[in-house]
């Protein structure tokens, strides 16, 4: 009898549900056949309230006038005018090109550093495990700190890197790297590379550890050298993770203006202006919410198109 009392029982009537005892009615709910759905409903509500609804609103906003500094213009629908304006906006085109440069250079650098680190760390040597944990540290630093560390090190007057370059004879005097349109984006890429490559290293290392050691032994017996083993075993073994990690990083780099906002704010001039940053500036500095929305939509569409093509191409080459 005691055992039976603990068994979940469907109450005879709703009145039998004691709402003050959550253990009881939750237990009853959990035996319902839609339990699996009940569990995900809260998350769906959240996603809709804080992602889907705002995003949809943002898209609608891009077809409306909304300038907080010009209430006289009202908030009416203006069709595609923001999009048309964009085509004539030279800053948009600069930002588009810069976004491309920013993403391609950053991903390439992070990929190369991450792969080199992972290959070095994928060896059973004393101390390597500790190193592979320590090198993750930059990735966990906030953009605010990461950006300002480098701003400090690259400071034209006080920066340690300038001092080292002068001592090594590469420079005659301290250089303001972020004030020079020729170097600003390049240096920002290096900072991003330092900040972001541990993520690549982490995932590559995990994938490398998943490649059976016997394959390398078989390759040695078959007569393959180090390079051949790398091309024939290591790279194919990493293929899936490369596809995944590159797309994740591209999305992150396109969408987030954080690091550039902190390092350069888009300057000098528009030398480091990227789409996400330009959209952010339109909204936050110019309070032109409609135009900012349109910029974000264009960015999102470009990203989507890229992802679809990229995934199709990587699937084609996989077969």
């Amino acid at each position: 009898m005691a055992v039976q009392a603990e068994m979940p029982r469907r109450p005879r009537s709703a009145a039998g549900l004691d709402l003050l005892r959550p253990g009881q009615w939750l237990g009853w709910v959990s035996e319902h056949r839609y339990w699996a759905y009940f569990l995900i409903i809260p998350s769906i509500l959240f996603i809709f309230a804080i992602i889907i609804y705002p995003t949809a609103n943002g898209i609608i906003l891009s077809f409306r006038e909304m300038r907080l500094t010009r209430p006289d213009l009202g908030t009416g629908f203006i069709g595609l005018r923001h999009y048309a304006d964009m085509l004539d906006d030279p800053v948009f085109w600069v930002a588009l090109i810069n976004t491309l440069k920013w993403v391609v250079m950053s991903v390439t650098l992070e990929f190369a550093l991450g792969l080199a680190a992972a290959l070095a760390l994928n060896r059973d040597l004393p101390g390597i495990r500790l190193i592979s944990v320590l090198i993750l540290l930059p990735w966990f630093l906030p953009n605010v700190v990461a950006g300002n560390i480098w701003a400090l090190m690259l400071d034209p007057r006080l920066g340690v890197l300038n001092d080292i370059f002068i001592k090594l004879g590469f420079l005659s005097e301290g250089k303001a790297w972020f004030a020079d349109p020729d170097t600003a984006l390049l240096i920002a890429v290096i900072v991003e590379g330092w900040h972001g490559y541990p993520f690549f290293a982490l995932l590559f290392l995990a994938a490398l550890k998943g490649i059976p050691k016997d394959l390398y032994k078989a390759a040695a017996v078959d007569g393959a050298g180090t390079l051949q083993a790398f091309w024939q075993i290591t790279l194919p073994g990493l293929k899936m993770i490369i596809v995944a990690v590159v797309i994740l990083r591209v999305i992150g780099l396109v969408n987030s203006p954080e690091l550039l906002l902190i390092l350069t704010g888009g300057g000098p001039g528009n030398a480091t202006q990227v789409l996400s940053l330009y959209a952010f500036h339109s909204a936050y500095l110019l309070f032109d919410f409609g135009y900012a929305g349109a910029l974000s939509v264009v960015m999102f569409v470009i990203l989507m198109v890229f992802c679809v093509i990229y995934l199709r191409v990587s699937r084609l080459t996989a077969d």
């Binding site: 016997d214 078989a218 078959d222 007569g223 051949q228 024939q232 194919p236 073994g237």
Partner: protein, 366 residues
């Protein structure tokens, strides 16, 4: 000519010595099985032959070259791995051709070699597939094929059948045997399965704790095991072991079995089984294979009564557990013998089939 000569090879991993001086010679065309329990060092020895691990001391000759410092690719070997180690990104054809390609063989010759071996192994229809699309048995064949396309001095097999189910394992075992009969290649084959060892080998090296316990043809390993370890490891069900004492009174020498659990003593007349050098009262281990024990009949030379403790029918024969002198023993009887539990039945064995080992060194005495 000797295809493989191993001279006093030692291997240490840090302070741990896993191979303690291994020496053996292998003739061309021989099929050597390294047999032993897990951790005995047999796979390490194979890795040393392949050049996948380096040798702490000693010499390995493959053909007429000292291979100690050679890279695996320069050792003129091919290897089949337990995990098969097929390259997942390559087709079956590319997998098999890889070793040839790395050695600069022309594409036409590669194709020809792959086709020949694929036909031999009946995997011609799989050549364009990737390893991920193959069943376990097919992968095993491809792994063998990859070794066979080349014509090396030595084939190395590292427990190649252990990932297959029982039926496939028996089938592949026969195929390997046929292949070897046909191609007369030299093989070193690692396994812990004594049936594989007995059926495939022309020579078996039984290993234990980093040492070779016995190196001999299979019949000799089975019929004249060099020590109690080999005797116990080879043969299924396991050989029965009894503590005994040699008695040389007047007349024929006898073995007195030391009783356990307060049972009555029993003695076995052994005639001329042992050398006269063994003295009176010598402490020995008496080994009797279960298949040597028969139901008592007219021609039996030594018979005794035994109480049946357990009867297991395998279909082909009946395994009967009984007590002799307080010791539990097993007999492998013909299937038509169906003793009931608790029966006392008459059993016998030929004293000439008894194995004697020194109680202290476990070395064979007869």
């Amino acid at each position: 000519m000797e295809a493989l000569r191993i001279k006093a090879v030692r291997k240490k991993f840090g302070p741990l010595e896993v191979l303690k001086g291994i020496s053996l010679d292998l003739e061309e065309g021989d099929f050597l099985v390294l047999l032993g329990p897990s951790g005995c060092g047999k796979s390490t020895l194979l890795a040393l032959i392949a050049g996948l691990e380096d040798i702490t001391a000693g010499e390995i000759h493959i053909g007429d070259v000292i291979a100690n410092d050679l890279h695996p690719r320069d050792r003129n070997i091919a290897m089949v791995f337990q995990s098969y180690a097929l390259y997942p990104s390559m087709t079956v054809h590319a997998n098999m051709a890889f070793g040839l390609k790395m050695r600069g063989v022309s594409t036409a010759d590669q194709d020809e070699a792959v086709k020949r071996v694929a036909d031999m192994l009946d995997i011609g229809h799989l050549l364009e597939r990737k390893p991920g699309q193959l069943s376990g048995g097919q992968r095993q064949r491809v792994a063998m094929g990859r070794a066979l396309v080349r014509d090396p001095m030595l084939f190395l097999f590292d427990e190649p059948l252990s990932n297959l189910d029982a039926k496939l394992r028996v089938q592949m075992r026969s195929e390997i045997k046929k292949l070897h009969n046909r191609l007369q290649t030299t093989v070193v084959y690692v396994t812990h399965d004594q049936v594989e060892a007995m059926t495939l080998a022309t020579k078996i090296a039984v290993m234990q704790a980093g040492e070779i316990q016995q190196y001999a043809p299979p019949e000799e390993i089975y019929n004249r095991p060099a020590n109690a370890f080999v005797a116990g490891f080879v043969g299924s069900p396991q050989m029965n072991f009894l503590p005994g004492r040699l008695e040389r009174g007047n007349g024929d020498p006898r073995l007195r079995i030391e009783p356990a659990n307060g049972a009555t003593e029993c003695t076995i007349p052994i005639g001329s089984l042992v050398e006269s050098s063994l003295g009176n009262g010598e402490e020995v281990i008496v080994g009797i294979r279960p298949e040597s024990i028969r139901p008592a009949g007219s021609s039996s030379t030594f018979t005794f009564d035994a109480a049946i403790e357990l009867v297991e029918m395998t279909g082909a024969d009946t395994l009967a557990t009984f007590i002799l002198g307080g010791h539990e023993m097993m007999a492998r009887l013909p299937a038509e013998e169906k003793p009931a539990l608790g029966d006392r039945i008459g059993l016998s064995f030929d004293p000439a089939s008894v194995h004697l080992f020194d109680r202290h060194t476990t070395v064979r005495l007869n």
